[in-house]
């Protein structure tokens, strides 16, 4: 009855009694193991998650005459599409309209929103207070008083530091 197939895949000594499904770096792997090895193998790796569903984007076939080159660093659009990394900051503009298309496809949004960079230090007091007050409301709503107290202290600190 016991042929090679029925032996534990790991120790190859005991009979395989357990079918173990493992996820290793997002890949499903089925192993037939004895009880001892199954316990060892499943230790702490019961349910590692599959990789996030990042769409495997096959670069659209670019005809040689459609390829672009970054004037600043000499990097080619075809290379960028292959490895999904820019080489320098100027590549962004050099590879338009592809840049905009890729950004909006991946992030499902268009145009930068959020922090505007000026290069000059500013305390951003209003912004900080807005974030904190919203968090305070949220903590109170969830009846998390310890956290609410901490956020209140932070608000006081911001007001003290930058003048109210």
């Amino acid at each position: 009855m016991e042929n090679l197939k029925d032996l534990c895949e790991k120790c190859k000594k005991n009979a395989a009694e357990v079918k173990l499904v493992l996820y290793i770096e997002g890949k499903k792997k089925i192993m037939h193991l004895c009880k001892v090895c199954a316990e060892e193998e499943s230790m702490g790796v019961n349910m590692p998650p599959p990789s996030p569903p990042v769409p495997k984007k096959k670069p659209p076939l670019l005809k040689p005459e459609e390829d672009l080159m970054c004037a600043n660093c000499g990097f080619k659009l075809s290379e960028f599409l292959r490895i999904s990394k820019f080489r320098c900051e100027k590549c962004y503009e050099s590879f338009e309209p592809h840049t905009t298309k890729i950004l909006s496809q991946y992030h499902k949004a268009s145009g930068h929103k959020g922090k505007v960079y000026t290069g000059v230090y500013s305390p951003n007091k209003e912004f900080k207070l807005k974030v904190l007050k919203r968090a305070l409301d949220e903590a109170l709503k969830r009846e998390e008083y310890e956290r609410a107290a901490r956020i209140r202290d932070m608000i006081k600190e911001v007001e003290k530091k930058y003048g109210s």
């Binding site: 702490g44 660093c73 820019f86 080489r87 950004l103 929103k113 290069g119 000059v120 956290r147």
Partner: protein
Amino acid sequence: MVPERFKWMSEKIPFWLRFVSPLYGDIVLSVRARLARNIKGQKFPLFLNDESRMKIFTLIHDALTSIKELQGLKIYDMSELEYLERKFLLERHLISQDLLKDGKGRGVGIDMEEKISIMINEEDHLRIQVFYPGFMFEEAFMKIMEIDDLIGSTLEYAYHKKYGFLTSCPTNTGTGFRISCLLHLPASVITGRIEEIINYSFSKDLTVRGYYGEGSEVLGNIFQFASLRTYGRSEEEILSHFKQSVYKIMDMEREERDKLMKDSKELIEDRIARSLGILKTAKLLSSKEVMEYTSHLRMGVGLNLLNMNIEKLNEILLLNQPAHIQILFGKRMEEQERDKFRGLLVRTRLNLS
């Protein structure tokens, strides 16, 4: 001999593991925020040779040391560290798997409390990170915005009005902002609801990873959840959206815990008791075992089935890791010997009460 450089660090517990919120400590281990930034006029790190990378490293090093508020920062050049030391930093989540590889002109700046880690010449010139315990999202957010303002007014960033902050990978463009946390979800793993949680996370634009981040495995039922998109939404929106999802995941885990307590209390009590017994008496312990058994204890504390300090479990979580064992005991060891010293460490810590 094991280098002594990080001996001081190995003997203390970082802030993010030391302070435990009574409300969340058994589920939310820690919170991390990060910003990806690049220096204007320089090619991105992946495309630099050793020499230009060194130049940028020096440029960033000098800028960071010139900032008054960042005086406590210690800056390390990866090429000057041994593999074991880099592994040690990885185990403390201070560097990424990427920086584990040797490379001239790549490094990290760390503050004494380990609230801040600034990686230099990883995928981007700067990867600013902050770490906080429990549910301290606001603290982390304020801190990282402040550090960014300080560095951004010292060095000139690569920025474009339309695209935002320019990063090597288009998945980070825009805000360059990512928020993540380590969640301990043992009940959902036992009941199988973890699958629903993972699918929910994907539907909410969150990624799910293992204990050491990208490409790592899940240890001790601890999962890393992180925000995915960076472009077209503000930092505050990303944060608030993420927090809502975390609340939801926490609620799901709590539901599963209640279910277990109702339907299989004896089984859970048995698991906790066995885990405690093994950790308190075993002579040889692998890191995976320790992670798994301390997970049961942590759940026990959360369910009021076990009276134990979560800080102590956090300490074990940190110190039992392979590079930590070696630096702590000042001895280079193979796996088998490490298991022996790990057993000793865990036994001693748990029997001290």
